[in-house]
């Protein structure tokens, strides 16, 4: 349609992004890969160490701990968050009064700035002066130390995460609204009950959306930083030392830039593997499998 002489005009329009891509993305990706094979404090020139950083990482107990904590939070946190978001979306899709208000209320916490959320929950979960433990004790339930107890710090972070499930919930809600009503009517005529239609219609029809939300969940969970930095800063006893926090410490507190770059590349690799595993799992279970 347009002649080749106009190509340069198009590139002129793309040029801000192209320059940004080169300077702020492409160069840093290559540089961090190269740095990962060096000893580098960010100021004096990098010293080549070959695979030194990678070898050292696998001997670093904090690295192993960070991987364990990160995978724990993802493996336990994501399924719980997804189940609760689906349930919340189902509830908000029923014909109740003030539905719009309830939808807004459920969504509200997810727009609270991360630092505010982290401080709020740190205070809400305070074992002595926070309201949650008082409530639990009134019910005769055990009142754990939450963020100051290594055994309960990770569950506390998962709980905080569940408070902000607004974004997957909204996406599930949209997914539910896209399921044609005729499917349920046909199922009802065939004598299917509520549970049968949920497992045979709703879940299979929702599986592409579930896949999307789980993938997003994996990516964000592997990069989790701010909430944890503010709430526990990795403690108590390194029980919440997650991967991104250890990268931050190595890079910006100990100025081990090469070591931290190696960690960043392993993070990229781990994220890619996790996302592939999710796709594999859904390939077996998802829409097509259930529709046979």
């Amino acid at each position: 349609m347009r002649i080749k002489a106009e190509n340069w005009k198009g590139f002129l329009f793309l040029s801000p992004w192209l320059i940004g891509l080169l300077v702020f993305t492409a160069y840093p990706i290559i540089a961090s890969f190269v740095f990962s094979f060096t000893y580098y404090n960010g100021i004096s020139s990098p010293e080549w160490t070959g695979l030194g950083n990678y070898v050292q990482l696998f001997r670093d107990p904090l690295f192993t701990k960070a991987i364990y904590n990160t995978i724990y939070l993802a493996l336990i946190g994501i399924p719980i968050a997804q189940v609760i978001s689906v349930l919340a979306a189902l509830l908000l899709n029923t014909r109740i009064r003030f539905r719009g208000v309830f939808r807004a209320v459920y969504f509200l916490p997810s727009i609270v700035p991360v630092v505010a959320t982290a401080l709020l929950w740190k205070w809400f979960l305070n074992p002595e002066f926070g309201p949650l433990n008082v409530f639990l004790m009134k019910l005769g339930l055990p009142a754990p130390g939450w963020l100051i107890d290594p055994a309960w710090a990770k569950p506390a972070l998962i709980l905080t995460g569940i408070w902000g499930i607004g974004s997957p919930m909204v996406i599930y809600l949209a997914g539910l609204q896209n399921i044609p009503g005729e499917l349920y009517e046909a199922a009802m005529l065939d004598g299917a009950g509520r549970f049968a239609s949920f497992f045979r219609i709703t879940l299979p029809m929702l599986s592409p959306v579930i896949l999307f939300n789980v993938v997003m969940g994996v990516i964000t969970s592997f990069q989790a930083f701010t909430t944890i930095f503010v709430m526990t800063n990795g403690g108590p006893d390194n029980s919440t030392l997650v991967y991104a926090l250890l990268i931050y410490r190595n890079a910006f507190q100990f100025y081990k830039m090469g070591y931290a770059s190696a960690m960043a590349w392993i993070l990229l690799l781990l994220t890619a593997i996790a996302v592939l595993l999710v796709f594999k799992f859904f390939g077996k279970w998802g829409y097509f499998g259930a529709a046979e």
């Binding site: 590139f11 329009f13 909204v170 770059s261 960043a264």
Partner: protein, 273 residues
């Protein structure tokens, strides 16, 4: 699916609403408590004499005015940078036939998924060499090179602008820049609103970048200021909660005003707030 009102649903719906609202209520109530009330046992749900003075102390005893002004400055410049550059780039992607355009657009989408940790360290070293660390520049200059999310969103919208409009303008002798500014921008207000809303919230609440690049207390944004305050004064919960509310308020107001735009953006981009 069910044509009758679902009465059974009210119990879990209300329980859920309490779970989402009670912490917010607790945040607000704490912001109005005296120190004695904060550390009372059993906890007091609502202080009998609300201490509104906690909010005044944010300004009189703590540098919250400074933090707020810094945040407004960074957010405003970032917003302008992203909107101007992203709309130009999005127009380039949508309007022109460029060899390799599809591949470039795929690259754009891939950068959305890239963990920031991979690029963060060389970026820091680069800005350090430029002498930018400790200034606002690392926060406000990169936005002028476009943001993948805004480019994506605007490009999708630009694609729906009928070609007849620009063809007609071309016959009248309009060049590409005129077509962009006189036809595409005025027609795409909803897309601009959505992109601006999300960029505003991301920048207003951003933590990692200010944490890495700002090291002078007088330049802190609200998120860093609050976090630093929480480590410096571990018991100042009324002020911390008051500060958190002040920081949340603009986002909350935007949400109440533009709820529809918000939800639409979430569905299009599938991105987190």
């Amino acid at each position: 699916m069910n044509r009758r009102r679902a009465v059974w649903a009210y119990i879990p719906v209300i329980a859920g609403a309490l779970f989402f609202l009670l912490p917010l209520f607790w945040m607000f109530a704490t912001s109005l408590k005296s120190y004695d009330e904060v550390f009372a046992f059993p906890p007091i749900w609502w202080p009998p004499h609300p201490h509104w003075s906690n909010y005044r102390e944010l300004v009189t005893e703590l540098p919250f005015l400074r933090y707020t002004l810094n945040t407004i400055f960074v957010t405003a410049v970032t917003l302008i940078g992203y909107m101007v550059s992203s709309s130009i780039v999005a127009f380039g992607f949508s309007y022109f036939r460029i060899p390799g355009k599809k591949a470039l657009f795929t690259v754009l989408l891939v950068t959305l998924m890239l963990p920031p940790q991979v690029t963060m360290i060389p970026q820091y070293i680069l800005f350090n060499k430029l002498g930018w660390v400790g200034t606002f520049l690392p926060l406000i200059i990169p936005p002028f090179f476009g943001g993948a999310f805004a480019i994506f969103l605007l490009k999708q919208f630009f694609d729906t602008v009928p070609k007849e409009f620009s063809e007609a303008a071309k016959l009248d002798g309009a060049n590409e820049w005129t077509i962009f500014t006189r036809i595409y921008i005025p027609l795409s207000k909803p897309a601009f609103a959505t992109a601006a809303l999300f960029i505003f919230i991301w920048t207003w609440t951003d933590f990692l970048n200010p944490l890495i690049y700002l090291n002078d207390d007088r330049m802190y944004t609200l998120s860093i200021g609050l976090q630093q305050l929480s480590t410096a004064r571990t018991t100042a919960w009324p002020q911390l909660m008051a500060g958190s509310i002040v920081m949340t308020l603009p986002v909350l107001l935007l949400f109440l005003v533009a709820q529809k735009t918000f939800i639409k953006g979430m569905r299009v981009g599938g991105i987190k707030a």
